[in-house]
């Protein structure tokens, strides 16, 4: 006799596994991130079936944010315009196969060998309260304060290190890498003085001579042998 809960569990488990497999078979970073999210949502719903209301919903909530941010970062750091070009999602295949088989065998063995508890949950038990006490106990206030402080620190770091920060352009004095060994720095070399008014994040600092240490505010015109403007 198969109950509705059993049916829901097997369906969700199948969704979690199939979408987890598709993460590596799809050809796009964005699709792969959201397939992983689908897998996590199925796992979160299984947690709800296990009467873990906070952990289940929190998994869906946190993974939603996380996968959105992950998709954005992957697209930002990969040389793949807007994440639209097809690309292979698998690399280091031999190592990955060995690691995957070992991890699966280890986890499966742990599941088989563990004596899993069989206490049905008493109705009306305050599980969320007990989870909070179990996780944080008397350190709740410290933890919450630290969480907000860490977030404020992160925002402060981004504000201070972003280019238009209050201490001037963050990339002042830095040079883009060269395209050829010993060659000129890549990127567009501005004719007139740049900097002073931030907001043009894409501009390379004035880099007429490869001698480093030239501040961004330097006058490119002062150098006699200024190279012709070229685009990377």
């Amino acid at each position: 006799m198969v109950s509705g809960t059993d049916l829901a569990f097997w369906t969700l488990a199948a969704i979690a596994i199939v979408s987890g497999w598709r993460v590596f078979r799809t050809d796009s970073m964005v699709r792969s991130a959201f397939l992983l999210l689908l897998s996590f949502i199925a796992v979160g719903l299984i947690m709800l079936l296990l009467r873990a209301p906070y952990l289940g919903v929190a998994t869906i909530f946190m993974m939603g944010v996380e996968m959105m941010v992950m998709a954005l970062f992957m697209v930002m750091f990969m040389m793949n315009p807007a994440g639209l070009n097809p690309m292979n999602m698998v690399h280091q295949e031999r190592f990955a196969i060995v690691a995957g088989v070992l991890a699966f065998a280890g986890l499966a063995a742990a599941v088989w060998l563990t004596d899993l508890p069989h206490h049905p949950l008493v109705a009306g038990r305050p599980v969320i309260r007990e989870l909070g006490m179990e996780l944080l106990g008397r350190s709740m206030l410290i933890f919450e304060t630290a969480g907000v402080t860490l977030l404020a620190t992160m925002i402060g770091t981004v504000v201070l290190s972003s280019r238009s920060g209050r201490f001037g352009p963050a990339d002042a004095g830095s040079l883009p890498p060269t395209m050829t060994p010993g060659g000129m720095p890549a990127g567009r070399i501005p004719k007139k003085r740049s900097g002073g008014h931030g907001g043009h994040g894409g501009h390379a600092p004035s880099a007429a001579s490869p001698t480093a240490g030239e501040p961004a505010h330097g006058h490119a015109n002062d150098h006699p042998h200024q190279p012709p403007e070229h685009h990377a």
């Binding site: 796009s28 209301p53 919903v57 954005l72 994440g83 599980v127």
Partner: protein, 305 residues
Amino acid sequence: MPWLGTLVLLGGSVVFVAVIDSLAFALIAQRPPVNLMRDALLAPWRAVAVSLVRQQNRTEHPDRLNWALAPALYLALAGIGLAVVPLAPGVAVIDAPTTVVLWGAVETLTVIAVFLHGWSANAPLPLIGAYRYAAMGLPIMLLSMFVLIGTALPAQSLSVVDIVASQHDVWNVLRQPLGLFLFLLLGLSLSLRGPFDYADSADLAGGTAGEVSGAARLTWQLARHAMLVAFAAMASSAFLGGYLGPVRAGPWWLALKMLVLITLLVGAGHSLARLPPSRMLTVLWTVLLPLAFLDLAQAGVVALW
């Protein structure tokens, strides 16, 4: 029958959103007052009819599956968001101990639905709308969660049913006045409206919906209206006492508060200007998020009092 009540509330309020939307536009554009009301009442149905007979648009190599699923996901999320709101004491479609967290999940998945809607079209302007919305949607969602946790403090519960019940004596808008203002910004963002419409705005020629026509566009617009309705229900319940009222608590009070909030948000959407994205990001991270911290701290002090 919370199902039926919620569906009636959703259907009625979506029509109200559509009518008040065209009425507000006509009033702000100073159309001649002849037939103003009749035009506003008919305009949504005209738009529906036009959408249904228009052919579907095609782009080059779209992600068909996600493009078709995004409007459905958006609409489903609006339905889930409305389902956590109680219509009467203890009567909600989804009555779980963590419905506030579930609402948070609805907010995050909305960002993903809008992003996928723009990304899947494989066209420049929808793509810009998608990335722009993701950059805005995440910080707005973050501050809304701080504000919502503030409303959970006096209730000592993560359930929306308990949060409404905790406002029996005094509404949360009086306990944490900053909270409602910050939360209303989320409503504009979730339903892609006015100053927080960075996804579907006119400066991107329709943004994520720019390449969509026909029934898919109709579903998308319907989902936007439904999300505004779900948001109004949540804001009424979290800050204005939901179904509570001076006499005879019941769904009518919730509906009344929702209509007021919807009118306010639609009016704001039509009359407030949109900041350039970079400036809006600065405002969000350096002004509004610290305000949300302040609101949370103040709510905590009041709850301990």
